[in-house]
Symmetry: C2
Amino acid sequence: MTAEALKGVPEPTLRRLPQYLHYLIEIQKAGRPVVSAGHIGRELHLDQTQVRKDLAVTGIVGRPKVGYETDALIGAIRDFLGWNNTKDAFLVGVGHLGAALLGHDRFDKCGVRIVAAFDKHPQRVGTAINGRDVLPIEKLSDLAHRLHVHVGIITAPAEAAQTIADQMISGGIRAIWNFAPTTLDVPEDIIVQNEDLYTGLAVLSNRLVEALKTVPS
Amino acid sequence: MTAEALKGVPEPTLRRLPQYLHYLIEIQKAGRPVVSAGHIGRELHLDQTQVRKDLAVTGIVGRPKVGYETDALIGAIRDFLGWNNTKDAFLVGVGHLGAALLGHDRFDKCGVRIVAAFDKHPQRVGTAINGRDVLPIEKLSDLAHRLHVHVGIITAPAEAAQTIADQMISGGIRAIWNFAPTTLDVPEDIIVQNEDLYTGLAVLSNRLVEALKTVPS
DNA sequence: TAGATTGTTAATCGATTAACAATC
DNA sequence: TAGATTGTTAATCGATTAACAATC
């Protein structure tokens, strides 16, 4: 627990936890009070030892022969991910993707509530999307400080991303969810989560080209 | 090359290739004809040995003391990713995210052109988004066959995702870019690339909660 | 009790990083 | 030539998987 707290939990484990959560909520809806690691593993195509190790990081303990309590497990995962502790966020770049994220009301169940959006285009400023005002980018830093906002979401073009990140950091933002396809230079205590869509497309496209080579249709 | 072709290139390598590409295009715009692995690594915060190994999978060879030719390297990466060979795609689920992807015209530079969209809601069917018709989901399978579409994009709710995947596969689709937060059951020759946004949010949120614990602001 | 399931320790596997010879 | 950079082989590191004792 001590060394773990220093290095943090492995990223692959963190990325699997929401998968468990989705499945557990189905289990819960179906009214099943307990579930075993083997059962979860079969459903999600994961090794059951891995499921146990992953769940262990949340501090949950199961009962031999029985399994894990569904409700307690859901609570433990949500707590561990910080999803029970909603943090305010600013979004910058109200293009197609930015607007889509603003329209999506389910992130607040995942610890993040977008409270305002910013853009540098005057024609977008002053509008509101799904109840959130679009403000001029110049106000970001000051407002982030005043409202104690710690999360920033970048859905702007790559060219603008570094400048936006700098403004976020000077406003006291500690974690950046970056959808721009660029590597941000930030101090080491700033958390950056890159969500570049081209990355997944690269894997898909290469695998498909290889598959079509082997078995031409 | 032979064993490599069987197992495929490691996913982490494939995921870094678009990063290299973005930076190389900057280099190209700046008019620099050659670039070294060390230079790329410094820019993208990667070990230079890793950069060389990654680039090697594309078949490119550099010149000692000189580096890699920018133009040739860009071409080799794009070829390797299949980004010079555009594949038609169908998108299913025209909600906020689906509409955002339809509005984004840059995927065709990454090997994928969305040629039609599908939805099960009658009020969405018959409209067009950014030039692509929204068709009833019942037509997907037949049309995929007739138009030889091999890529499917799922931007529908999790509950609908498995059914949509089944319809795609029965229509001859070989690769699925899945934005729904669910594990799809598919035959092993079908390529699935999951792009669940909650996954990245889990990493960000947990890291932020841990950071705020250590240094409360 | 016997059987099923957990939790942990050890082995394996794959990716990253280091070392270094080859080359221009 | 000397210095810089590539490409490859070896070492390290971390995550996954296997083995198994503990437990209800």
